[in-house]
Amino acid sequence: MSWLAPMWLAGAAAAAGMVVLLHFLARRRPVEQLFPTTRFVPIAPARATTRAVRPTDLLLLAMRVLLIMLIGAAFARPVVTPGRRPRATVILADRSRAVADMADVVRAVAAARTDGDVVIAFDSATRRLPADTMMSTSLARSTARGSVSAALIAGFRIADSLRAHADTVDIVLVSPLAREELDAATDRIRALWRGPVRLVAVRAAESPAATGIEMAAPENDPVRAGVTLAGLLRTTAGTRIMRQVPTEADLTWVRDGRVLVYWPRALAVTDTEPALLAGESGGLVTPGPFLRQGVGDGDDAIAWWIDGDVAVRERALGAGCVRDVGADPGIAGDVVLRPSFARLVRWLGAPCGHPDLSPVADSVRVALSEAPSSPSVRADVPNTRDSPLARWLFLGAAVMAGLEPLARRRRRHAAD
């Protein structure tokens, strides 16, 4: 137990000591008693009598001392704090696909961790690891995308609960901090924690790119030519470009974690588009002309025309995905011969989700690690306003205050 205002306790102890001293120093006159007549009582000098401490006197003294101590203890505001540590750490360990080598993460966690610290492993979800776990076995790399926002939220919650048991709580983030792990909410979530976050960088995995593409198309197909020119044509690969409608066998093949690009030929003359904008924020521009085909609308668009309509969609299928491409290069022109088309093909052949594992800018790292500018609020200040015990102590003091006059009256009657 600790006291939020211990000076009150010292004051109460001093006051109780004074009460004890007065109780034994004060000499009491013998009780005045009516007597039928004092005619026969000889006039004699009063003699001080030795005060015998009667049990009722001690009881009254104890009640008075207890009353003063209860009031002092109530104002001193006791709080029950079982085993408060000076410092506790919450370690957020990245185990997503952005991490190149999990051994780096395990080493970093082991270096930062002490007894009683909490480790939270995260990718797209978070999991608090048991205190006695072996990090090397618990921290296994996953293929899911990492989410720093989810990790921070889980970390802040744990840190709040640790504040009752530690004077200071630190947060450590062990992660390569790939671009794809941050989102639009990350900054706002970071602002919820008013202290610093220590960043421990580990090696990031390389962004996976297409390493080979199967082609289900005739030899004179222009897209096949473009894939060949890009040096990606393979007999078997994890990505397959199909120019005709996929069969059930193709879809089964996709479900095993592969990528199927359905790139149909334009069967009729349609509008042409001058360029295709692919990738995050449409940063991959592929000049046309392309024959435009409809692929429908939805939240799974990954490439657009200049007018904003969807040009390519990606939909998950089992462990893999299917990309519907609505941009036919046609059979005339040199679109497929350009380097931009090779970049487009390489991009379309990338693994599902288009992981962007490139590291974030240094400014983002700094913003993530530094504490928000609110120096008046400390992260490690425990809640000092509430002391539930104080209410009970005041109640006890009120009961003593009510009983003390009764004990005093009883003593007077006993003397009478």
Binding site: R29, P30, V31, E32, Q33, L34, F35, P36, T37, T38, R39, F40, V41, P42, I43, A44, P45, A46, R47, T49
Partner: protein
């Protein structure tokens, strides 16, 4: 009337309060009168004189002696009685039960009942300020009236008994119930005067055991009739007090008897019926 007094009245039923000498005549009663009358008991004969009632002539004696004698027997008369009660503050002891006052009240009612049962008119005088009186009467209900009056009285103040005693002049039997702590000399003077005048003064001295032998705890004694009188009371003072109080009581008893009064000391823890019996007993009158 409360249960306590009711039980007392039951207990004293049958008691008599005889006098040790004949009283002046008057209304027929239970006491021997100084007058010779026509009571059935034979006292003496005298020669018939002109004017005597012929039916009082003892005809058998006439036949034997040829002289006319009439029979004389002692007459019986009533004895007016007054109970004088001290209601000063010293009677309220020990607090809070006020045992002395309770005993005095019970003695007053008990003695009144005994006197009334004997056909004697009985009255009450309470030494309050002003004095409260009930004139002696023998009608039914006088005991209740006495009890009711005493119910309303609380012992307090320093009123002397002298005004109360002045109000009982002419009443032959007067029982003064007091603790003698207010004005013992005045009471004894009155008793002497009353006895000389042919009255029968009874002085009933009520004491409390705590007064005779106070408990051995240190205290500061305060006189209720004089609150400025405060005396420390410890163990060594206690021994001296007991001796002085006993000496005073013995002296009082002697002076009371010398004055011609019937003196009885009653302790407040005594059974009230027994106390009444001691007062009315001929042994106490003879002592």
């Amino acid at each position: 009337m409360d249960q306590e007094l009711g039980a007392l009245l039951d207990a004293v039923r049958g008691l008599q309060w005889p006098v040790r000498r004949p009283v002046h005549g008057g209304i027929a009663g239970t006491h021997h009168s100084r007058l010779r009358g026509t009571a059935p008991e034979l006292a003496e004969y005298r020669l018939y004189r002109q004017g005597d009632e012929a039916r009082r002539i003892d005809w058998k004696l006439l036949a034997r002696s040829d002289r006319a004698y009439i029979r004389l027997a002692p007459d019986r008369a009533t004895l007016r009685t007054a109970i004088v009660l001290d209601a000063s503050a010293s009677m309220a002891f020990p607090r809070p039960a006020n045992d002395k006052w309770r005993m005095a009240r019970q003695l007053a009612v008990g003695l009144s009942a005994v006197a009334h049962a004997g056909g004697d008119p009985v009255g009450l005088v309470v030494g309050t300020d002003p004095v409260q009186r009930l004139a002696p009467r023998s009608r039914r209900g006088v005991i209740h009236a006495i009890a009711a009056l005493l119910e309303r009285v609380q012992p307090q103040g320093t009123a002397s008994l002298a005004p109360a005693l002045a109000g009982v002049a002419g009443i032959p039997r007067v029982a003064v119930i007091t603790d003698f702590l207010s004005d013992d000399d005045a009471i004894l003077r009155w008793a002497r005067t009353h006895a000389v005048a042919g009255g029968i003064p009874h002085l009933i001295h009520v004491v409390a055991p705590e007064e005779v032998s106070p408990p051995p705890t240190a205290m500061t004694a305060v006189d209720p009739e004089n609150p400025t009188e405060i005396r420390p009371f410890d163990e060594r003072v206690r021994a001296s007090y007991i001796a002085r109080f006993a000496e005073w009581r013995d002296g009082l008893a002697r002076r009371a008897r010398e004055a011609g009064a019937v003196y009885v000391q009653i302790s407040s823890d005594e059974a009230p019926a027994r106390a009444v019996g001691r007062v009315v007993s001929p042994a106490s009158a003879a002592a």
